[in-house]
């Protein structure tokens, strides 16, 4: 019996890890906050429970008709018992808020990956266009930003070892960032209930040493072109070029659009972020730019979420003044632009676009996203 237990016990303890691994730069900070809160809770619980037990025993009713003493007058007890929790709560609030803001503020040098949630799988896309399903491979010690959207209901991206979580919403983009500090394979869960197979909508995050990651990237053949080129192709094949060239009265030029303020026909002003561009494609009439007629048809159902991302990636690379339109039809101009590819763009501030290189590189630099 005892022998059996001896053999069984270590295995049981192995199966009873009470703590998730700490594998990101934020994990230690979150755990420190948790430890301090746990200590505060433990001390308060012990004090209160000890008082309850002591009073119950010390003042236990001695005779049938015994009454309690008169009313306790101790205004200081109330003041102190209000002040102490208040001070503790406010201090912990500030600490918690600081961590939250750190979690919200993506480091400037983060590399952008994409994640698409759908019932019941995760699709990821690397900056070079390489795609993965349910398993995300990332390099260690590199800040990674995931820009995420859902193709159906709300999901939530959760990696316990990184202590990060972000809901993934249909119809808009949310972001999450992390920097893995340990190599290995970590569990990833969908944390927002999403229907039948919710509990199977998990996966892994594989963290590789940087050199192994690079080797792995080279070895995995991207099944499709990089996002910017794909986006550019779509931009042409969907005839976006017919109107969005710069001198067409039908549609505004899209150069330098990303991140700028757009004045809408409704009088509102909005920042042209990724969600704005996405909305303008699938639901264009909701935010017509000032000075333009509501001509654009919706592309809802014609483009997948991944294709939308490609188009956005392409639009993000459009910088500088729009190409001067030679006399001729809009469509010709558009073809002229698309034939040259992004490297033929007018001079931009992106340094490595000076060398004519693959679009992937230029996209990689575009993917260095700034803080919000």
């Amino acid at each position: 019996m005892i022998e059996m237990l001896k053999g069984y016990l270590p295995e049981m303890l192995d199966n009873l890890p009470l703590f998730p691994p700490q594998a990101s730069t934020m994990a230690g900070e979150v755990d420190a906050l948790t430890f301090v809160w746990t200590a505060i809770s433990l001390v308060s619980t012990v004090i209160i429970v000890a008082a309850i037990i002591f009073f119950m025993v010390r003042y236990r009713r001695r005779s049938f008709d015994e009454l309690g003493g008169g009313e306790l007058h101790a205004p200081m007890v109330e003041v102190v018992s209000m002040a102490i929790p208040f001070v503790i709560c406010m201090a912990m609030f500030v600490w918690g808020a600081k961590i939250f803001i750190d979690l919200e503020r993506t480091p400037k040098n983060a590399v952008e990956y994409l994640a698409f949630g759908k019932q019941w799988m995760w699709k990821y896309q690397h900056p070079n266009g390489l795609r993965e399903i349910n398993n995300l491979t990332v390099p260690v010690d590199t800040p990674i930003q995931l820009t995420m959207t859902s193709e159906d209901v709300i999901h939530s991206f959760f990696v316990p070892a990184f202590r990060v979580k972000q809901d993934v919403l249909p119809g808009r983009y949310t972001t999450i960032w992390f920097e893995a500090t340990k190599t290995g394979v970590f569990r990833m869960f969908c944390a927002e209930y999403c229907g039948s197979e919710h509990s199977l909508m998990g996966g892994k995050v594989t963290v590789l040493p940087k050199n192994e990651y690079d080797a792995w990237l080279r070895q995995e053949e991207p099944e499709r072109a990089d996002p910017v080129s794909s986006g550019e192709q779509l931009f042409t094949s969907l005839s976006c070029t017919t109107c969005h060239t710069g001198d067409s009265p039908r549609g505004p030029a899209l150069h330098n659009l990303f991140g700028s303020e757009v004045k809408l026909a409704s009088g509102e002003s909005v920042t042209a972020d990724e969600t704005y561009i996405r909305d303008s494609i699938v639901n264009p009439r909701s935010q017509i730019k000032e000075g333009y007629a509501a001509l654009m048809p919706t592309f809802e159902g014609q483009v997948s979420e991944e294709q939308l991302r490609d188009i956005i990636a392409y639009i993000r690379t459009l910088e500088g003044p729009p190409v001067a339109a030679p006399a001729g039809s809009d469509a010709e101009v558009a073809l002229a632009i698309s034939a040259d590819g992004p490297s033929a763009e007018p001079k931009t501030t992106v340094p490595n676009s000076t060398e004519p290189t693959e679009a992937a590189l230029s996209y990689a630099s575009a993917a260095m996203v700034g803080g919000q």
Binding site: M56, L67, A97, E192, S196
Partner: protein
């Protein structure tokens, strides 16, 4: 009232004056309506408990092998819907509140007895709709009905349940309105606001939330229904809607609903601690005022359920800070209750065991609640078993402990019978121990990262899930026992005197069970919990005469 006093027959009370079914189903007596509610909420507690048992059995093993994923999703959704809307929300207000509000304010009934009966029928219709939904395929959206899952994607009886919750809202609103008007207009002469029992203050605060908050959830579910049936784009982005809008509207009610469930328990605990310490509650004014304060503050903290939706850091910090603020008066209440026992005459009767059990469990529920309000920590544990454990500590450890404590305390008044003291103490201890065994491991599971609403889970989570299921067995036993000994006491229990506990509150001044119109003679109004008053000494001396010397309980 004097007319009743003249015709008063001590052998006739509100129960035995007429046992016909008609006299029960058409009763306008608040005390009988309390019984109608007690029987109905008990039935739904049993149904909700059955679903809980299925959940715990499924989670014994990591593979989802007992139930299919779709069945499991229905089971946990139905557990939540039944427990929250059909048990927890009506439990203390509609059972104990209905029985006690008129008694405690010295009135003959509530202000609108017909509305009171109507509210039970509305509740029953809602309950039947839910049962219909369970029979015809069930519902699998989670009790939170998040869109667009509920409005576009779910293939279950979402509409039927949404309509049930909508209908049930009217029962809450009518009961709340009834209590507000009763407390405002029907207090006995000289029973000023400052003399009201804290249970009444708690009922007042709860009723405010019921009246102000319930319409919001009703309308929200109606909108989700309109989107589902008519395709109106409100929440589904594919139709031009906003899914987060649903969460804001839903939690605008459902966070205050947490206080609908816990404030009544605060009220009960205040009564129990004072009665079993035979001492005026410490900080009466603070507890009374903070109940109303919490009810109001409760309306402006809802978005702390949504920190991971990608809301702006500005909004998140404001909601986090406000949530912290609401925790402070709650913490002070626990200290008030504890300090009341100081220099008291503390008896260890069954209701008191529930009350101190409540203090311990609610303390843990509250502290983990503040942890969850802390932004950086919430991101990690949001939607994990940490949250599940937290709200069960508050809802089960708080609200249900309060409900059971209250039922055990007022049972002699409601039935005129005493129950077995020893077995009821055993069951109170089983509930406490079983509860902790069930839910404490879930804090650890949550921090390890086990998400909630998972039908199958990774193997490393199994050991703690086995603990939890084992604990649930003990907890279940603790809940089943009262059904037996309380029912037994109804028929075979010893007759209860008017004031079996020697407690100082006006509902103990009338016979047990009370006559139809509650009081034979107008009750003596004193300061609240005035254990230095002559009246309590007389009552205890009277009580002592009826007990054989060898049976004198010290408590």
């Amino acid at each position: 009232m004097s007319a009743h006093a003249e015709s008063y027959d001590p052998n006739v009370n509100y129960l035995n004056r007429d046992w016909s079914l008609k006299s029960w189903l058409l009763t306008l007596d608040h005390k009988r309506i309390a019984w109608l509610y007690l029987i109905s909420v008990s039935v739904f507690f049993a149904i909700g408990g059955f679903f809980a048992m299925l959940i715990r059995m499924e989670l014994l093993t990591p593979q989802g092998d007992l139930l299919s994923p779709d069945t499991y999703n229905r089971v946990f959704t139905q557990h939540g819907v039944v427990m929250i809307f059909l048990f927890l929300i009506p439990s203390i207000p509609a059972v104990l509140g209905n029985f006690l509000v008129p008694l405690m304010v010295g009135a003959v009934d509530v202000a609108f007895p017909r509305l009171n009966l109507l509210s039970w029928y509305i509740y029953t219709v809602a309950g039947i709709l839910v049962i219909l939904a369970l029979i015809t395929g069930g519902v699998d959206t989670g009790w939170t009905f998040y869109t667009p899952l509920s409005s576009t994607y779910a293939n279950s009886q979402v509409m039927l349940v949404a309509i049930a919750v909508f209908v049930n809202g009217f029962a809450s609103i009518l009961t709340g309105l009834n209590f507000l008007v009763t407390i405002h207009t029907m207090r006995a002469k000289n029973l000023t606001w400052g003399k009201l029992p804290l249970f009444i203050w708690a009922m007042y605060a709860t009723s405010l939330i019921n009246v102000l908050g319930t319409p919001v959830v009703a309308i929200t579910l109606l909108m989700a229904g309109a989107e589902r049936v008519l395709g109106l784009g409100i929440f589904d982005p594919a139709l031009g809607g906003d899914p987060i809008l649903f969460q804001h509207l839903f939690w605008f009610y459902s966070h205050p609903a947490v206080y609908i469930m816990i404030l009544p328990a605060f009220g009960v605990i205040s009564e129990l601690i004072a009665a079993f310490s035979r001492k005026k509650i410490f900080g009466y004014t603070f507890i009374a005022a903070s109940s109303v304060g919490i009810a109001i503050l409760g309306f402006i903290v809802w978005a702390h359920h949504m920190f991971t939706t990608g809301m702006s850091a500005y909004a998140a910090t404001v909601f986090s800070a406000l949530t912290m603020l609401i925790a402070v008066p709650t913490a002070v209440k626990v200290i008030n209750w504890t300090a009341t026992m100081y220099q008291g005459s503390v008896s260890w009767e069954t209701p008191m065991l529930y009350a101190v059990g409540f203090l311990g469990l609610f303390l843990i529920g509250g502290l983990t609640g503040v942890m969850l309000a802390t932004l950086g920590l919430d991101i990690h544990v949001h939607d994990t078993y940490f949250v599940v454990a937290h709200f069960h500590y508050v809802m089960v450890g708080g609200a249900i402990m309060g409900f059971l404590g209250g039922i055990h305390y007022w049972w002699p008044k409601m039935t005129g019978r005493l129950y077995n003291g020893s077995i009821s103490k055993v069951s109170a201890i089983l509930v406490f121990v079983g509860f902790n065994l069930t839910f404490f491991p879930q804090f650890l599971l949550g921090y390890m990262g086990m998400p909630r609403r998972y039908h199958a889970y990774p193997e490393e989570f199994q050991a703690l899930n086995v603990f939890s299921t084992a604990g649930a067995t003990v907890l279940g036993l603790g809940y089943i026992l009262p059904a037996f000994y309380l029912t037994y006491s109804l028929f075979k229990g010893e007759k209860a005197p008017a004031n079996p506990w020697g407690a100082m509150s006006i509902e103990w001044q009338t016979p047990s069970p009370p006559p139809l119109h509650n009081f034979v003679t107008p009750p003596v109004i004193t300061e609240p919990y005035d254990y230095e008053h002559e009246l309590i000494k007389e009552q205890i001396a009277e009580l002592k005469k009826h007990v054989k010397p060898q049976e004198v309980p010290l408590g």
